[in-house]
């Protein structure tokens, strides 16, 4: 198994303790801007580039989404798990990078590696 030092695709983000649930860090690495999010204790990373028109998506509002049952009763779900582009409000699932309404549009999603209390992103 490779160590952190051997993997040149891994980039240091921050101490895990400094990225609390609900927090994010946007870093530059390997020529990309990447947003790293702590969602309820789990870390996710997505590209800071909206597939719509190139807005800085990882800097946008983190919120939830509306859903409806078969009878049309509306509920608000997944609060804290949905990322919104600050340009046009396109919404993405932070975990997968998938757009909520467009099956072919997604943010680049990157692996996050935790080691010795440090957060790394694989880009």
């Amino acid at each position: 198994m490779s160590t952190i030092q051997d993997d040149d695709r891994l980039h240091y983000v921050t101490r895990a303790a400094d990225l609390k649930p609900g927090d994010r860090a946007v870093i530059e690495c390997a020529g990309r801007e990447v947003g790293v999010f702590n969602v309820d204790g789990t870390f996710y990373a997505v590209g800071n580039y909206c597939p719509h028109m190139g807005g800085p998506c990882a800097e946008g509002l983190v919120t939830g989404m509306f859903d409806a049952d078969e009878a049309g009763n509306v509920s608000f779900e997944r609060d804290g798990e949905i990322l919104c582009c600050p340009w046009h409000g396109w919404q993405f699932d932070i975990e997968t990078g998938d757009h909520l309404g467009h099956s072919k549009k997604r943010l680049l999603a990157f692996d996050v590696v935790l080691e010795d209390g440090d957060v790394y992103v694989r880009v």
Binding site: G60, F66, G72, P86, G89, H99
Partner: protein, 375 residues
């Protein structure tokens, strides 16, 4: 024909200046108040949104439509403070790579046509122009703007155009049309057109989302000719109903083939793309949908072809629209016989046969309708 390598690869490669013909301010009432002139200013003192502590009157009516991506702050770029100075305009020009923005009001003044007090509407237009000339227009930095006028007072609007047309940096006239009634063909608006002609200025017309919702059916009644009505009567009614049905998940909740008749076809791909565009930004308003609106418009809705626009002048347009709407699945040929504008089978077939092969033609001219009605 230009090859790929000859064709400019990006906007920057073009030799022309890049002009943005709809670039907005986010002007707020507080920007306008210092410029509202007496006597109308007296109407507001102490009882108005110009006074932050007495905010119970707003001259700009709204139907209160909630835009989820805006009310939540999700689309952060559209904030009240986004574009309220020349520097803000420059920031937008740099973001978008624009050489010349035609700057027009894009916040409270969008609802100018809904202001019920006609003289106040004209006074607000006048104030807005003074504000724009004082704080926004900057010809040295290519920030150009337009003269805003209130349609409620066409003669005052004409005066406004005449008075401002020589101001440096003003290059057009901007008429907020949301809610204006009667529609713009009424002779009362002629002074505005005459003034634009005198100035040699184009007239920019801009609706407003919220206000239009309240005013449109009323505005429609202002038509005074049958043609005005008939050109849009069928497609507009369908657009209203399709938008409403899809947004509320009717095709998700009911297994019914819905057939929209007698509106031609061009509105269908237009509405499909327009609905999808909106949905990508605000699916919160349509949480019942499991797919983008166009999917429902293709798979659950059907459209009859007559009166098929474009057959006489532009058969390639007809084929393009048919292709874009997915005609093989959702278009049903129809004649409307014996109505005054019926289509003839042979004529319509000749147009479709330019592009489509037997399976598509058979669907359009019979199979699809047969399956929907008889199977």
């Amino acid at each position: 024909m230009a090859t790929e390598t000859q064709r400019p690869q990006q906007v920057d490669d073009l030799d022309c200046p890049v002009v943005d013909a709809d670039f907005h301010l986010t002007e707020q009432v507080s920007d306008l108040i210092p410029y509202v002139e007496r006597p109308w200013r007296e109407l507001f003192i102490g009882h108005n949104p110009f006074d932050e502590d007495a905010n119970y009157y707003d001259p700009f009516p709204s139907s209160g439509v909630m835009e989820p991506h805006i009310t939540t702050g999700r689309a952060e770029i559209f904030s009240p403070d986004a574009v309220r100075s020349a520097d803000d305009v420059i920031e937008g020009m740099e973001l978008l790579g624009i050489d010349y923005p035609l700057v027009t009001p894009g916040a409270v003044m969008l609802s100018l046509g809904l202001v019920h007090h006609d003289e106040v509407a004209a006074a607000l237009a006048h104030a807005c122009n003074t504000f724009v000339l004082d704080q926004i227009v900057d010809e040295a930095r290519d920030v150009l703007a337009t003269i805003t006028v209130a349609g409620q007072k066409p003669r005052l609007a004409a005066d406004e155009i005449d008075d401002r047309r020589h101001e440096s940096g003003m290059v057009g006239v901007y008429l907020p049309t949301g809610g204006l009634n009667p529609p713009l063909g009424d002779e009362r608006y002629d002074p505005i057109y005459e003034a634009c002609e005198r100035a040699g200025f184009p007239l920019l017309m801009h609706g407003v989302g919220s206000g239009t919702m309240k005013s449109f059916p009323v505005q429609y009644e202002g038509f005074s000719r049958g043609m005005e009505n008939h050109v849009i009567a069928h497609p507009f009614q369908h657009i209203v109903n399709v938008v409403s049905m899809v947004t509320h998940g009717v095709p998700e909740r009911f297994d019914v083939p819905f057939v929209f008749q007698e509106a031609g076809i061009g509105w269908v791909p237009y509405l499909m793309e327009r609905m999808d565009n909106e949905y990508y930004s605000r699916r919160d308003d349509a949480p019942m949908l499991q797919a983008p609106p166009s999917t429902y418009m293709r798979e659950h809705f059907y459209y009859t072809s007559q009166p098929l626009e474009g057959t006489q002048n532009s058969p390639e347009y007809v084929c393009a629209m048919a292709r874009l709407m997915g005609a093989e699945d959702c278009l049903m040929w129809s004649s409307d016989y014996p109505h005054h504008d019926f289509d003839h089978t042979a004529d319509i077939y000749r147009v479709f046969a330019r592009e489509f092969d037997r399976p598509v033609l058979e669907n359009v001219f019979g199979n699809t309708a047969y399956e929907v009605f008889f199977d």
